[in-house]
Symmetry: C2
Subunit: 343 residues, 2 copies
């Protein structure tokens, strides 16, 4: 049992739930087809295709949390679908905001159909998430819990917007500290992962302590997840991923290793960093210089240590629930995968 | 008692409710300040200002419907705030999609802070609408009704996205019929006005027939509202509005008067229309030609007649509720204002 097989086990269940929402909305077809393209169900010509569709990582966390507490999946499915749709709505809009032309080796929605349609497609996906959650009504979930789920989801989306604002704001600044960065990714990435385990838990139990531990587990693996993403964005094996070497350095993203270097580098190196990060675009020579400074301050080791710390805390929250079963084992395997993945 | 004074009576109540949601979210301040700018509370330098903020037409309809059935306002306020926030989120994104640089005589959000921030600000406003509706929890509204309100709101927003898709799609087509156009504005404009009266009614009563009539009232004044907008977009007094003469003709919008002319014009005139509407931009001469063809087929009279028909049907739904009180009188005055307004 490895992480890939666990994610694969839940993929069809999640996609079938998402499809059930799309079955209720048919017109205008191209609007929904663009959403389906982004979800990986259709190709660029809007014909059905079998291909890699993404990990469906957030809904799987929600389902496993619910399963760990209840032994079944059914009542968590509408919420799981909602979480995946929120994630995808934010990707569609992020791709426009960052001008990213490719995602999962395919052209982004705005690249294919233009910015105006892509904004509208993202807005549509955003609503579909709330409509998905409202399908909890068909699963014999109390209205009180449905309102709780909708409150968690919407409080999470506003955190995503806050994180996205900060991320864009940081681009033009050289005074960002690692603490400010952790706060930013906590909103932009960890909030939705926390919502996944939080919602899985509240649908299964009213026990405050259990809910609290699952929530903390989600928030902490969310932060670790993003830090590992940042490490991979600089040092991952370019051959394995198809992404250019040191792409986050090239794009001058202010991720944790870089911010740490800004703090820890010698006065001279710090000036070099500021100079490079204030330029319009960086040369190969600049990238080499940055990588060398990161190495001097051990930025990778530092970042890895922070990610490990968050992951250990996350696992200890899982253990504090006192629950032991197959779903709990799977959650631990997923948490480990997040930290030790190489792509 | 005229429409302006009725709208003005409800303005502070609505804005105070919206402000109460913003008080719960403070950081990052510039994100929320951009939303407040769009809502008319701050100027371009993000300083507080007293100015015209928009009609707050949709929330006023919601409040008056609720008041007509209950005699009070309180429980409808969170929903009224949500309706206004949905309207404003859609304006922020529409302004980007249409590249409109001004709204209410002020620069649009994207014009001031760029497209990436404007997309994110719109997304934030979209979530704030759901958070506003969730404040119904503080007003002693049953969870069952809260779920109903959220379902109506979200089913309305997906209709907005469908209407927006169709509107953009129609721009490049010359085969759009008046029927297709009514379907489009029914989603893009009327759905949210229907939601306003629908939600006002369901919060106050469980009587199916009453709810049905208020809903139909909303949908029909919504359609009439948009058709009048289209008439004003071609024939309104340029001096009064500050907008250029025949601006919708200049921008080649496929509104009802134009679509009617496409259908009713002589073969020769129809070819002239197609030729002009397929060109990249229209000259003063082109605009004159289009206006002349519209006049020949009586497109303004036709459009006015359709708007009147919808408004009469709307009023008859109000009358069928059998309710007579001050709030009902105000709803009628607002419906009349929509039809006979000159700006």
């Amino acid at each position: 049992m490895n992480a890939e097989s666990i994610l694969y086990q839940h993929l069809e269940m999640i996609d079938n739930e998402i499809k059930s929402i799309f079955e209720k909305r048919m017109f205008p077809k191209p609007l929904y087809d663009m959403m389906k393209y982004h979800l990986g169900w259709l190709d660029e010509n809007l014909r059905p295709i079998e291909q890699y569709r993404g990990k469906r990582f957030r809904p799987t966390l929600c389902l496993l949390t619910y399963n760990a507490l209840s032994g079944v999946y059914d009542k968590a499915l509408p919420a799981a679908a909602a979480l995946e749709l929120i994630h995808n709505f934010s990707l569609i809009h992020d791709d426009i905001e960052d001008m990213d032309e490719e995602r999962r080796h395919k052209p982004t929605v705005w690249k294919l159909w233009g910015v105006p349609h892509a904004i509208n497609v993202g807005d549509g996906m955003h609503v579909m998430a709330n409509l998905a959650a409202l399908n909890l009504r068909d699963r014999n979930v109390t209205e009180s819990k449905i309102v709780d789920v909708l409150a968690i989801l919407n409080n999470t989306v506003i955190e995503l917007c806050e994180g996205q604002y900060l991320d864009m704001d940081f681009e033009g600044r050289t005074d960002v500290t690692p603490e400010m960065y952790i706060d930013m990714i906590s909103r932009k990435t960890a909030a939705l992962i926390e919502a996944s385990t939080h919602i899985g838990a509240i649908l299964a139990t009213n026990d405050e302590s259990t809910i609290k531990h699952f929530r903390a587990f989600g928030r902490k693996i969310g932060i670790a997840f993003q830090i590992v993403d940042d490490i991979l964005g600089i040092w991952q094996d370019a051959k394995k991923t198809g992404k250019p070497h040191a792409s986050d350095i090239k794009n001058k993203k202010k991720t944790l290793p870089v911010l740490y270097a800004f703090e820890k580098a010698s006065k001279e190196d710090r000036e070099t960093l500021i100079e490079i990060y204030e330029k319009e675009s960086s040369s190969e020579e600049d990238i080499k210089k940055v990588l060398h400074i990161l190495e001097k301050v051990n930025a990778q080791t530092y970042s890895r240590r922070i990610a490990d710390k968050y992951e250990k805390e996350a696992i200890s929250h899982l253990e504090k629930t006192g629950i032991n079963n197959e779903a709990m084992e799977k959650l631990k395997i997923l948490a480990d995968f997040l930290i030790y993945r190489t792509y």
